[in-house]
């Protein structure tokens, strides 16, 4: 019978006890999701990789402060979120504005149409473009809620926000995307 893979909390314990393979296994398990999240948040592969490295190093160096009662990925995404936030603030403070929910989404018209949207890869590309047109603070709640399948409670814990704030951001993000999604996916609203 195959051995059950260790939980994140067990790997963290292994790291703290000096087991070097714990870090490698945590990296292997989480690097794809953290990197994807950061890539969609900052929009540049090199920046996303730098930020992901920063986040993992910060997490690994402060494993003794990790509370095993909490989901490791939620804690890790919280660190990644703060790294991205600092980066975006330095790069373009305007991107973090919350009051531009009514700003038009900048989407190309050419890709629209039900036939094209039927293609899975094109559908993913359309979602990527819609997502990229959102302000990062809205983008990240959608990425964590749906991309990472976190509950509202977990998203709130990761971002250190009240659940009510997360719900409001999710509501606004969905409203902003839904109309455009109807237009580009060919689905009727």
């Amino acid at each position: 019978m195959p051995a059950t893979p260790p939980t994140d909390a067990q790997l963290v314990r292994r790291c703290l006890d000096g087991g070097a393979d714990g870090y490698a296994r945590l990296l292997e398990r989480h690097k794809g999701r953290v990197y994807s999240f950061l890539l969609r948040l900052v929009g540049d592969a090199a920046d996303a990789e730098d930020l992901a490295q920063t986040a993992f190093l910060k997490a690994f160096r402060s494993l003794d402060s990790y509370d095993p009662a909490r989901a490791f990925h939620s804690w890790l995404f919280g660190i990644a979120h703060h790294a991205a936030l600092d980066f975006l603030r330095a790069r373009r403070p305007r991107e973090l504005a919350l009051d531009d929910a009514d700003a038009p989404l900048d989407l190309p018209d050419g890709a629209a149409g039900p036939e094209a949207a039927a293609e899975t890869s094109l559908r993913a590309e359309l979602v990527e473009r819609l997502l990229a047109a959102l302000p990062p603070l809205y983008r990240e709640v959608l990425l964590l809620r749906h991309g990472e399948d976190m509950s509202v409670e977990e998203v709130a814990a990761a971002l250190r926000l009240p659940e009510g704030t997360v719900k409001v951001r999710l509501f606004r993000a969905r409203e902003m995307m839904r109309a455009k999604w109807a237009a580009v996916s060919g689905e009727k609203e």
Binding site: G32, A124, L131, H146, R174, W181, S185, K188
Partner: protein, 178 residues
């Protein structure tokens, strides 16, 4: 259609519905209202699209770079900016307070007893602030931050000694005045 809920209320609740909440009356409204049901289906389709986004992977050197940095030794996070700022403020406060105390004592001789008390109080505050800067420097988690904080406290002390202490009379001026 459920009379207790109109479409506007229903649309407002769709997001919470997607997150697992079951607001009273919404399901009844959705069963009766095709437009709101379509809006929900669209939101679900969008959520499915977000969930299906492909996972990207960083470059091949990603793991090695992190593990190498980790092996290079533990490095604690730098001193928070507010601690460094507090140290600088306390150091400047030290200098400014001693300067004010010496002015008070020197220029208001009529209020010598009051000013002397004020000077003592200010001096005490300065000493505390100065000590705080020194301690913060000593407890700083990185050598660079420690050097900054200790530098700030030394600067404060230097400012105090150069400004607050009375100047020594020039030899040529001794005896010039009655």
């Amino acid at each position: 259609m459920d009379d207790a809920m109109d479409c506007r209320d229903a649309r407002r609740l769709l997001s919470a519905f997607l997150d697992g909440d079951r607001p009273a009356g919404l399901e009844g409204h959705l069963a009766a209202c095709a437009a709101c049901a379509r809006a929900l289906a669209l939101s679900r389709s969008l959520a499915a699209g977000l969930s299906a986004l492909p996972r990207r992977r960083p470059g091949p050197a990603f793991d090695a770079a992190i593990l190498a940095a980790l092996a290079a030794g533990p490095r604690r996070s730098p001193t928070p900016r507010f601690v460094r700022s507090a140290a600088w403020v306390s150091a400047l406060w030290t200098a400014a307070s001693f300067w004010a105390a010496s002015r008070l004592l020197g220029e208001l001789p009529g209020l010598a007893s009051v000013s002397a008390r004020a000077g003592v109080l200010l001096g005490r505050a300065c000493a505390d602030a100065h000590m705080a800067a020194v301690l913060a420097g000593l407890l700083a988690p990185s050598p660079r931050a420690g050097a900054q904080l200790l530098g700030a406290s030394v600067l404060a002390a230097a400012l105090f000694f150069s400004i607050a202490l009375p100047p020594r009379p020039h030899p040529r001026t001794i005896g010039a005045r009655p």
